[in-house]
């Protein structure tokens, strides 16, 4: 394309058109590549998130396994297991609020927000102002709010019923996950809750973000001030065991060093009283996750929702109900709390009731017809458009509004308009990952969607810079996944590397990655970020591990043990927390060993007894027979070669 020096007007114009075309064409391709990179990063974040949740569900089956097999263990072990179960199933003998609150005083020197009961809209403003300035609400008020909320929530049915007819509009928000900026933005754009401005918050207020406590407090206070106009639905993260894994418990213990444990205790119960869902105008069902083909609203209306303590605590099964093979040597088989098939003891739901709730909190809609176990998350199911039609029409409903899944645009309509997903935590995975949204509904009109994206003031960066940041974050966590399976991955690669050249084809590499990690990702497209590929297209499979390693407490620890510890650290943390009945942060060496044996058997972690003994003596730092498990787990973390010290994710 040269430059004509003496061109006629027509020629010049043609040149201009051509030039414009080249630029536009190039830009469109550039933009498309950016969008695809964004999608890849999102796919990585999402698949790892779900695989994590799967880990949580696996833990649930581990507890069931322990219970079923405990009779095989010797006396000491069974004592441990009993203790574990007594702890997890401890009757919520929540002391009277006076017992709790009487012990906690608010000092005069406290300059944070002070609430006055009974709460009014003034208290809402006080809280919002205080939280904007990053103040922390005193434990005394936190507990007061929790006790009050428990009192009011207890009176409510399993489903809140709301009418918008004739002239009210209602706003529905999805997952917030501790992101206070998003809640503030919603209130700014859409107004504070009031009798004329009702809201439904559809679960997952907590975990992951840094301000789960603040969000919870704002929502509960608004609820107490406007109980008929502020509706809260339980999400799968309103579960004390999920909080152990996903950050809320840590946030509470950090912000409330003195009274955190009390708060956790009361919170545990408050969660169980949150309604399962909201029904608007008798035609729109709002629930956190989704449905299954067996969803039965009658059952859901009648069951005692507060018995659903945690997704990790399924009801104890009697002989007849479990599908698993029972141990043949059952001669002195002693069953702990046996459940007769037709009767439920006062502390448990039936298996069916429990599954119904899990489906509501964990399921995801998909395009494929039918109902399949939700293998990504490990709980609930995938439900197709036929299931939606059937369940909605059976219950004379028109639409399902749910949350639970992060969407790039903050919302998504599926199943021919019968299912809407709304997600309100913008930048959920990373700055720039997605927008948040909320819905405004009124009777007889189409739902209106409002989108937003919180941007930190330092981050008014152009798209490509935000993209780079998000992308590198995604690949970082993907590499951490890889290193946690390093031994298994290398075995798989070597199986295909017959000549021991250190190289295999891209297809073989992609296949191994998918197989071992269990993540459904576009491996070929991602390969250039993860591994070195030479000019002939072969993958140097060891190159992934060049710049990353797992730190370990001692040099001689074998790598497969290190990897296993690192991989299961979240599960171990939860288990240890439960064993630690006096919440001292310490468990005994014997308990540690026993727990490991059971863990090993269930997870098939291939760690032999001698390694455990060795490990136990290593982690008994003080040589006093006790293990500080928080210290222990902190010892395993990933080091990225090019990170500044202190920035790696533990």
């Amino acid at each position: 394309m040269g430059c004509g020096t003496s061109s006629k007007k027509g020629n010049k114009s043609k040149k201009v058109i051509k030039a414009a075309l080249v630029i536009q064409n190039w830009y469109r391709r550039y933009r498309a590549r950016l969008r695809v990179r964004q999608h890849y990063a999102l796919a990585i974040f999402q698949s790892i998130e779900y695989s994590d949740e799967q880990g949580q569900m696996q833990l649930s089956s581990f507890f069931s396994f322990m219970l079923e097999n405990y009779t095989k263990t010797n006396n000491e072990d069974s004592a441990l297991v009993t203790r574990i179960f007594d702890n997890t199933r401890r009757e919520s003998q929540i002391k009277d609020r006076d017992d709790f609150l009487g012990l906690i005083e608010v000092p005069d020197s406290y300059d944070g927000p002070r609430l006055q009961f009974p709460l009014t809209f003034t208290d809402i403003h006080i809280l919002l102002q205080a939280f904007k300035q990053q103040q922390i609400l005193h434990a005394h008020y936190v507990l007061e709010v929790l006790f009050e909320a428990r009192k009011v929530l207890k009176q409510m049915p399993n489903f809140s019923h709301v009418k918008t007819f004739p002239a009210k509009e209602i706003t529905i928000c999805g997952d917030l996950h501790g992101k206070l900026d998003d809640l503030m933005l919603i209130f700014y754009k859409n107004g504070l809750p009031s009798e004329n401005n009702p809201y439904v918050f559809n679960g997952d207020f907590v975990d992951r973000g840094n301000n789960s406590m603040e969000i919870l407090m704002i929502l509960l206070v608004c609820f107490l001030v406007y109980p008929s106009d502020l509706h809260l639905n339980r999400g799968n993260h309103e579960d004390f065991m999920m909080n152990l894994r996903y950050g809320f418990t840590k946030e509470i213990l950090q912000k409330y060093k003195l009274h955190g444990r009390k708060i956790l205790q009361v919170l545990e119960e408050v969660y169980t009283w949150l309604p399962i869902g909201t029904i608007i105008d008798n035609e729109i069902l709002v629930i956190h996750g989704g449905i299954s083909e067996s969803t039965d609203l009658n059952t859901l209306h009648q069951l005692q929702r507060n018995k659903m303590k945690s997704v990790l605590m399924p009801p104890v099964l009697g002989n007849q109900e479990t599908g698993e093979k029972r141990n043949k040597s059952a001669s002195n088989y002693v069953e702990p709390r046996k459940v007769e098939p037709d009767k439920t003891p006062s502390e448990d739901l039936t298996k069916q009731e429990w599954e119904q709730i899990v489906d509501i909190l964990w399921s995801d809609p998909r395009g494929k017809k039918g109902c399949y176990p939700n293998t990504s998350r490990g709980g609930g199911c995938y439900f197709g458009p036929d299931v939606t039609s059937k369940v909605l029409s059976k219950n004379q409903l028109k639409m399902l509004i749910r949350s639970h899944e992060c969407k790039p645009d903050g919302y998504e309509v599926s199943h021919d308009g019968k299912v809407i997903t709304v997600f309100s935590a913008s930048n959920y995975y990373e700055e720039g990952s997605n927008r948040g949204a909320y819905i405004r509904l009124s009777y007889g009109t189409m739902p209106q969607f409002f989108q937003y994206q919180v941007t930190s003031t330092s981050c008014l960066n152009p798209l490509h810079q935000r993209m780079n940041a998000m992308e590198s974050s995604a690949f970082k966590i993907l590499k951490e996944k890889m290193i946690s399976r390093k031994t298994d991955l290398i075995n798989a690669f070597e199986l295909r590397d017959h000549s021991r050249s250190g190289r295999i084809s891209l297809a073989e590499w992609a296949f191994s990655m998918e197989n071992i990690l269990g993540l459904n990702l576009p491996w070929r497209s991602l390969s250039s970020h993860l591994v070195t590929i030479d000019s002939s297209g072969s993958v140097d499979y060891m190159s992934s591990f060049d710049d990353i390693r797992i730190e370990k407490p001692t040099k001689d620890m074998k790598s497969n043990l290190t990897e296993t510890m690192y991989r299961y650290r979240s599960d171990l943390k939860i288990i240890f927390n439960i064993i630690d009945s006096d919440q001292s942060g310490l468990i005994s060496m014997d308990e540690f060993r026993t727990m490991w044996k059971l863990f090993n058997a269930h997870y098939k972690a291939h760690i032999d007894d001698s390694q455990i003994d060795e490990l136990a003596s290593i982690v008994d730092f003080n040589k006093d027979g006790n293990i500080d498990f928080n210290e222990f787990l902190k010892a395993f973390y990933v080091v990225h070669k090019y990170d500044k010290p202190g920035t790696s994710l533990a």
Binding site: C3, I17, K18, L21, I23, Y27, R28, Y30, S414, H464
Partner: protein, 164 residues
């Protein structure tokens, strides 16, 4: 490379291409039912390294759409046409120096930059005009807010670095 592997070689190549296309397609298959919104087709094709003009894209879509357009494109229809495009190396992108010359055509005075108004005028009035969204995005990345101009050499360098 042993000779007997040549025939298998092509098959293997096609198989790899298919996998690559499938990966790119699946990223936008939100409902996991082997269809994507037709508006994403351009993005998918471009992510595979092709650079069709809007006109070429339009023709491509016409070839793979249903008889009665549904707004969705099915994978079975997409893959043969996309494979052919890749094998025949269609829609190759212009080289970097061509891009530079294009900017220079729009900047006959050779200042080294275009003003915001000039760029907007050219991009939204000539060639295959940008939508408002496309224009805003390009400006946000390209423009120097103080002078309200685009230094196109720097811009090209940035875009090219990002590609890699």
């Amino acid at each position: 490379m042993a000779e007997e592997r040549d025939a298998e070689g092509t098959e293997a190549l096609i198989a790899e291409l298919h996998k690559k296309i499938k990966d790119a397609f699946e990223v936008f298959d939100h409902e996991s039912n082997n269809t994507v919104d037709v508006r994403e087709i351009g993005t998918i094709i471009r992510s595979l390294g092709c650079c069709p003009t809007e006109g070429e894209l339009h023709d491509f879509i016409a070839e793979i759409e249903e008889e009665e357009p549904t707004g969705y494109i099915r994978f079975e229809k997409f893959i043969p046409v996309m494979t052919r495009a890749l094998v025949e190396r269609r829609y190759r992108p212009a080289a970097e120096d061509i891009l530079l010359r294009a900017f220079e055509v729009l900047d006959p005075a050779k200042r080294g930059f275009l003003t915001k108004d000039e760029l907007v005028k050219y991009m939204t009035e000539e060639g295959e005009p940008f939508s408002q969204e496309e224009m805003e995005e390009m400006l946000s990345a390209a423009i120097d807010p103080e002078s309200n101009t685009i230094n196109y050499r720097d811009y090209i360098t940035m875009m090219v670095v990002d590609e890699n």
